[in-house]
């Protein structure tokens, strides 16, 4: 046993900070509760800084492989913390409007982030499962946090039931992984020796299908996506954005740990590629076509995020250094664009009390800056240059082409990207072209400073990666070091 507390300082700090926020809640009078938001922002940024200064590498292993701080983990931690920072920043209006227990709200967001950070560092099944649940149980609660809205409570219940079901499937798959090897450590070296060579095909396929189904629920992959639009629509919008980025990134990290750690060994390697490729194709097709039909922007972004998970899986199937670094850059681009778009949805919801796409009509006249920002975010999600989304899609598709056998998947990806342009463009068209009577009493919109920060961070990230991607590509290529092919 090696008790390496030094490599988990960011997690320990963030958990301590959650307790500080929860305690501070008791000492602030009602009018001063905004301070909790600033405290949470600080917590996320400070933890991100700590992650940068924490040593990474193959030797930074603690607690018998239950905590492994490789570059992969610390990259995902930065993504999760940035997503948390932007979600908290964009929650200023929503919290004032419909959240009663502010201290608990921020405390639970931070605890969920702690769970995700442990999750991306786990290379062992028990700690992976516990961390996964630590990241999702606060999210069930946060989804149901607007207690006066039936939609929110109902979304929370639906999310909880499907979350529990997916945990059961995942655990059932994990039990077979353990049964076939006698170990729970997800490390290629130890598994190769234990896995009883050629005779485990059936057990491997069974456990693989169950594990992918279980994580497929968490990642909202088709056909396990039914919960996502409802939960995304019902949850408080900042939580929706957090769900769509941080929870997806953490789930993807868990899938990477399990599939690359366990199923790439010996005979297991033959199976997962085709399964994940089919899931990717389904996610891209169903996600994009269903998004075309939506009239509520949160539901549209929910289906769009289902489709985005499909594009990420295209890089995942490529199973190469290129593929993994493509995924990393994709998640980074998706983080900024999606969080930014959701921050604007929060702002519009606050001003107009509506999530309907028609109500975005005339936005360009009402508040040109917001309309331009939203356009950039949507273009990035669609993958149009000069935004980050273009670089990301390009990298992922190139990795899949290089693989040689995945040309059909790339064709589907490109075709569905074209489809996706239609629904993103529809919002842009509403904002810039559709005329709308603007009441003279409507003044210019002035946004609160936290939400402006969230939009600005998203904007800067999207444009910098789009225009000057080299340093980010370099960073992304270091992420894959701990995975050997």
């Amino acid at each position: 046993m090696n008790l390496r507390f030094d490599i988990m300082i960011p997690e320990l700090f963030l958990f301590g900070w959650a307790i500080v926020v929860l305690t501070a809640d008791l000492f602030f009078i009602k009018e001063k509760k905004n301070a909790l938001l600033y405290m949470s922002q600080f917590g996320f940024l400070a933890a991100a800084a700590l992650v940068i200064f924490t040593p990474t590498g193959p030797n930074e292993v603690g607690f018998g492989y239950m905590f492994y701080n490789d570059t992969f983990a610390s990259f995902f931690k930065i993504v999760i913390l940035l997503a948390g920072f932007m979600a908290v920043s964009s929650s200023f209006e929503a919290v004032q409007k419909s959240i009663e227990h502010k201290g608990e709200f921020f405390g639970l967001v931070i605890m969920s982030a702690v769970g995700m950070m442990f999750l991306v560092s786990s290379t062992e099944l028990v700690s992976l499962y516990v961390a996964l649940e630590l990241s999702t149980i606060p999210l069930f609660i946060l989804t149901a946090f607007q207690k006066r809205y039936l939609k929110s409570s109902e979304a929370g219940l639906k999310y909880l039931i499907l979350g529990a079901l997916s945990s059961a499937l995942l655990l059932y798959g994990m039990s077979f992984m353990y049964g076939m090897t006698g170990t729970t450590v997800l490390l290629a070296g130890s598994i190769t020796m234990l896995l009883n060579s050629a005779n485990v095909h059936y057990g491997l396929v069974l456990s693989l299908v169950l594990v992918v189904a279980g994580l497929g629920f968490k990642l909202a992959l088709v056909p396990f996506h039914m919960w996502a639009p409802d939960v995304y629509e019902g949850a408080p919008t900042p939580i929706t954005s957090y769900l769509s980025v941080a929870s997806k990134a953490a789930g993807l990290a868990a899938l990477t740990r399990i599939v690359y750690g366990f199923y790439t060994v010996g005979t297991a390697a033959e199976y997962w590629g085709i399964l994940i490729a089919i899931l990717a194709a389904l996610a891209m097709i169903i996600g994009n076509f269903a998004a075309l039909l939506q009239s509520n922007i949160k539901r549209m972004l929910a289906y769009s995020s289902i489709a985005q998970a499909g594009y990420i899986l295209v890089g995942f199937v490529a199973a190469s250094q290129l593929g993994l670094s493509g995924i990393s850059i994709y998640i980074f681009a998706y983080l900024f664009a999606n969080m930014g778009a959701f921050a604007i949805v929060v702002a519009v919801d606050h001003k107009l009390n509506s999530d309907r796409i028609e109500d975005y009509a005339g936005m360009a006249r009402r508040s040109p800056l917001i309309a331009v920002c939203m356009t950039i975010f949507l273009l990035s999600l669609a993958g149009i240059p000069p935004t980050a989304g273009f670089i990301a899609k390009y990298k992922v598709f190139m990795a899949a082409i290089e693989n040689g056998t995945l040309f059909w998947l790339v064709m589907i990806a490109v075709a569905t990207t074209v489809v996706s342009i239609f629904y993103y463009a529809r919002v842009i068209k509403e904002m810039f072209i559709t005329e709308r009577e603007v009441e003279s009493s409507e003044s210019k919109w002035i946004l609160s400073s936290p939400i402006t920060i969230a939009i600005l961070v998203g904007l800067i990230g999207t444009l910098i990666i789009g225009i000057y991607p080299e340093p980010f590509l370099e960073l992304a290529s270091t992420v894959t070091q701990s995975f050997v092919y």
């Binding site: 149980i137 207690k147 006066r148 039936l150 639906k158 655990l171 039990s175």
Partner: protein
């Protein structure tokens, strides 16, 4: 009569399948949660029988089962809190009567 690992695994598979049937057919949130508990129990049977037959010298399976039980309890608590919230505010716990949102 002999009972081996495979018998326990088959029993767990049947229990898991029954739970799955319940999740798919129950209309009531509490009912669905009960069926999910059946599935968690099937998983635990799997873990504990693997612990006995595969790794008797290091019973990791039992440790896993402890965590599953703890987390199932936490999940059930949160689930029932939400059920009670919905019942108190909206007087209904049937999942497919709650159709403000479509499935």
């Amino acid at each position: 009569m002999q009972v081996e690992l495979i018998h326990f695994l088959c029993l767990a598979a049947i229990l898991f399948g029954i739970g799955l049937y319940g999740v798919l057919t129950r209309r009531n949130a509490i009912g669905i949660l009960m069926c999910v508990e059946l599935m968690f129990n099937a998983v635990n049977i799997n873990f504990i029988s693997f612990a006995k037959f595969i790794t008797p010298d290091k019973i990791i399976g039992q440790v896993f089962a402890v965590f599953v039980i703890v987390i199932a309890a936490a999940e059930a608590t949160v689930g029932l809190a939400i059920v009670i919230l919905i019942y108190r505010n909206f007087k209904d716990v049937f999942i497919d009567k709650m159709n403000i949102m479509k499935w």
